[in-house]
């Protein structure tokens, strides 16, 4: 899927080559594929257009006698209609088919993701300008004493679906992890969802993608992908620590919602 590296090199004059960001997710290639295949067609169409324009303009200057044709008869306009239809089928067609297939089959397949063993559920509450995240802990229920609560620093396992339910306290934010190829808006009053599965371990940046005020640019978080065993150990230790430090009077720390309630968005 990196057949476009030659294209990227084209643009690498005085600055670094440009390409899609590194993809560390299991299914991100599906997004990259729709982008790459569109790029191939777009580049071809663009080059054809420019060549046509240059040829038309420079081959037939003022000395050339203009051919009188208004393209009004069927013989003439059928080509326009045909080429337009062809472009739609060849260029838009695959994009539409793939986009649809990947949307339904993968990115909106929450049922499938939830059913997989080892799936991790995380609730995110965004506010100006940070990401609060909450794991249900061993009891599987959110907003209880054993919840793991983190700020801007989310830890997930490698090779298992990670499902997020996201909301916001104040204004609209957008939870995006470019390297894991997933994003969704954080909207106050609504719970939105997304999921991904990490293929590689590492630390990946969370970028707020919706203008949310002056400090929008530094509403940065990280997602740390750990190997499964390491993640399990982290979850266990952190949960024990969280239970020990739990303060029932700290109302700020009490948030979260019933997970099942929001799984209706099929």
């Amino acid at each position: 899927m990196h057949s476009l590296n030659c294209l990227a090199l084209l643009f690498s004059g005085p600055f670094e080559p440009v390409n899609l960001l590194h993809d560390a997710s299991e299914f991100g290639w599906k997004i990259d594929e729709t982008i790459t295949e569109t790029t191939v067609f777009v580049v071809i169409l663009f080059i054809m257009t420019v060549v046509w324009m240059l040829w038309s303009v420079f081959m037939n200057g003022p000395t050339h006698k203009a051919v009188f044709e208004d393209g009004a008869d069927f013989k003439s306009w059928r080509w326009t209609a045909l080429i337009a239809a062809l472009i739609f089928i060849v260029v838009d067609g695959p994009l539409l088919v793939h986009s649809t297939e990947f949307m339904w089959g993968t990115f909106f397949d929450f049922k499938g993701a939830e059913a997989k063993p080892g799936a991790v559920r995380i609730e995110v509450n965004a506010h100006q300008w940070a990401w609060n995240a909450r794991y249900a802990g061993p009891d599987g229920t959110f907003n209880t004493a054993d919840d793991i609560v983190v700020l801007n620093d989310i830890v997930v396992p490698q090779g298992a679906p990670v499902i997020f339910q996201i909301t916001s306290t104040d204004v609209i934010h957008s939870f995006k992890i470019p390297n894991l190829r997933m994003m969704v808006d954080a909207v106050p009053g609504t719970v939105t969802r997304m999921w991904f599965q990490a293929k590689e371990t590492g630390v990946f940046e969370i970028v707020c993608s919706q203008h949310c005020g002056a400090n929008h640019y530094k509403m940065r978080g990280t997602v740390t992908v750990l190997p499964k065993a390491e993640y399990d150990r982290w979850a266990q230790v952190t949960s024990v620590n969280a239970t020990r430090a739990f303060d029932s009077k700290d109302m700020e720390a009490h948030w979260g919602w019933d997970w099942a309630e929001h799984s209706r968005i099929e």
């Binding site: 390409n19 899609l20 663009f46 200057g61 009188f68 326009t80 994009l95 986009s99 104040d170 106050p188």
Partner: protein
């Protein structure tokens, strides 16, 4: 239509538009003028002035991305003194918000629709003025009021508007932007909407009622078609934006909670997403509002300077109409990431991609128009070709964003910014400038300098392409839009060099516009006096003197043919020139003319 009918129709339409004595006082000539040409020029000046303001703001954004947090040259020691010459995050969000709103509502709209719509529609359809001249003047002055509100917003407490041009609540309510600047800008958008509706009603009525006898819909210049369809969209969808703006103003001023949810909501509050629906059901037609007139102007100019009829004129008209209709049902692609139901997302993806069919028809027609022509690379033609080029780039990059899957990666990146700048900014700009060079003689009675025009074109074309391609590339590499310092993220750090180069091109592009400003202003005094028909084309406005007289036509013309009857061999043989006026009566040659007609 028989000659008798035509004469009768002319009598009727003449009676509708009696010739008034030309205005004599300064007030009635320049301020409260009812002449559509003067109102067009008023819009032109107002729009060009704000184009300069919006451009300056763009340069500040580009400076920030190239040299984040460093003192801004020229503007730093003058207008930014209070912040020590640097752009802080709070100021930055005001700059990009004001840039977007000013460019869309107060620069492109007045130039492309206000100026060209007013100036061209009556002239090109053979009318003496708009259907409602008084409403027309009111429309401009209401627009001027909205521009005053924009200027006021710059001096508002807590600064200008800062919630982005899309003005999404809750950020745009008192929760995120409590300043008076934001209130004034929302009010300004509402007021300018009122002006647009008045203009729209006028344009639609004028085109329907005041076409000269013989000027059938299928003989209208494509410029008029573009303005007509735009006016229809304006009349239909600006009210939706107006509703959104009013509700938002009530949230800001009177404590309602239409769009507030979350911690600030009382008793459940409202729904922020509702605003996005109201905004984008207007907002997507809006991008076509800003491009349809550009398409029309470019399509006419390509035909004029290729010395050929526009290829498949009817197809172009149908395609433009189809785009107009479809534009109303695709807006959801702006909201794929709001947690939209996937079924809805699927529908919007499909509809959005369908819009590419009429767009392709249009584009292919342009390409066929210039094929095997006799190309005259005049300045308007260069800009028209430039418009085709940049619109091609803008249209093609739209493909990615119309489908829900690639949008997951590209949403809210600079790729989106590059895409809509190529379509809405670059294409509209190119067509506007093309139109200015083209109609300048009819507006001001003199020609603009060709050499300066060509230099201006090359700086503009190369600059625009480089700047917006730079945006596309950093977006492809993932960089988010609206970041005060993109390099706060490790993944965007490698893009600093590319951003700097893009900024250098932007500065050159901006300062090269001085050539245009000089050419535009000086030509009014030192430009070559224009003949009635300097471009040798047949549309009606070129059959009268340059500049056009106050009442346009002494006698309303009776239209004989379409707008681009160029290089017709039969007429070339008989007239000795490759163009023929739309209302020109070519004396019948027994037999021959009939034969020519039969052959068509």
């Amino acid at each position: 239509m028989t000659a008798q009918e035509a004469t009768f129709n002319r009598q009727v339409i003449e009676a509708l538009q009696p010739i008034h004595a030309p205005p004599t006082t300064f007030w009635s000539k320049y301020i409260w003028s009812l002449d559509h040409k003067t109102i067009g020029k008023q819009y032109l000046w107002a729009g060009l002035l704000f184009l300069l303001v919006g451009g300056t703001l763009a340069m500040m954004i580009r400076w920030q991305w190239a040299f984040p947090g460093q003192p801004v040259p020229i503007l730093g020691p003058t207008v930014l003194r209070s912040s020590g010459g640097v752009i802080g995050p709070g100021l930055y969000m005001q700059i990009f918000t004001m840039h977007g709103l000013i460019m869309i509502f107060f620069a492109i709209t007045p130039v492309l629709i206000g100026a060209f719509g007013n100036f061209c529609i009556p002239l090109m359809i053979g009318a003496r003025d708009m259907a409602f001249p008084w409403l027309n003047a009111l429309s401009f002055w209401v627009f001027a009021l909205s521009q005053c509100l924009v200027i006021g917003a710059f001096f508002g407490d807590l600064g200008a508007a800062g919630a982005g041009w899309t003005t999404y609540p809750p950020l745009s309510t008192n929760i995120g932007t409590p300043g008076t600047g934001q209130t004034l800008m929302v009010a300004a958008v509402f007021v300018t909407g009122v002006a647009s509706i008045m203009g729209g009603i006028n344009y639609v009525t004028t085109v329907i009622r005041l076409r000269a006898p013989g000027m059938t819909y299928m003989r209208m210049p494509l410029t008029v078609w573009g303005q007509f369809l735009t006016a229809i969209l304006n009349v239909l969808f600006i009210p939706v934006l107006g509703a959104g703006a009013l509700l938002l103003l009530m949230d800001r001023l009177f404590g309602t909670q239409f769009f507030i949810a979350g911690a600030a909501a009382v008793k459940g509050g409202g729904d922020p997403i509702l605003f996005q629906h109201l905004f984008w059901i207007f907002g997507h037609p809006e991008v076509y509002i800003l491009i349809l007139p550009a398409w029309g102007i470019a399509a006419d100019l390509l035909a004029f300077f290729a010395r050929k009829p526009a290829h498949w004129y009817k197809g172009t008209v149908l395609a433009m109409s189809a785009v107009t209709i479809l534009s109303a049902v695709v807006y959801g692609h702006h909201m794929f990431q709001t947690g939209m139901n996937p079924m809805l997302g699927q529908g919007f993806t499909t509809l959005t991609l369908i819009i590419s069919i009429p767009a392709e028809v249009l584009f292919l027609n342009w390409l066929r128009t210039i094929y095997k022509g006799s190309i005259r690379l005049t300045v308007p033609m260069l800009f028209a070709l430039g418009m085709v080029f940049v619109f091609g780039l803008g249209g093609l990059t739209g493909l990615y964003l119309g489908a829900a899957t690639p949008d997951i990666y590209l949403h809210d990146t600079m790729f989106v910014v590059g895409h809509f700048h190529f379509t809405m900014a670059a294409a509209s700009f190119m067509a506007s400038i093309a139109g200015l060079y083209f109609w300048y003689p009819k507006m001001f009675g003199r020609m603009m300098n060709t050499t300066l025009g060509k230099i201006h074109f090359w700086f503009s074309a190369v600059g625009i392409t480089a700047v917006f391609t730079g945006q596309l590339l950093v977006g492809y590499a993932g960089q988010n839009r609206r970041l005060w310092n993109p390099y706060a993220y490790d993944i965007f750090k490698p893009l600093h060099g590319l951003n700097q180069w893009t900024s250098y091109f932007a500065f050159v592009l901006f300062f090269a516009q001085a050539i245009f400003i000089w050419n535009f202003l000086s030509s009014m005094y030192i430009g070559k006096k224009a003949e009635a028909n300097p471009w040798q084309v047949g549309t009606l406005e070129w059959s009268i003197t340059s500049p056009a007289p106050v009442h346009n036509y002494d006698a309303i013309p009776i239209v004989q043919r379409g707008p681009h009857e160029l290089s017709n061999p039969e007429l070339v043989r008989r007239l000795g020139r490759d163009w023929v006026g739309q209302a020109e009566v070519v004396a019948e040659e027994p037999g021959a003319a009939r034969m020519a007609q039969g052959a068509r």
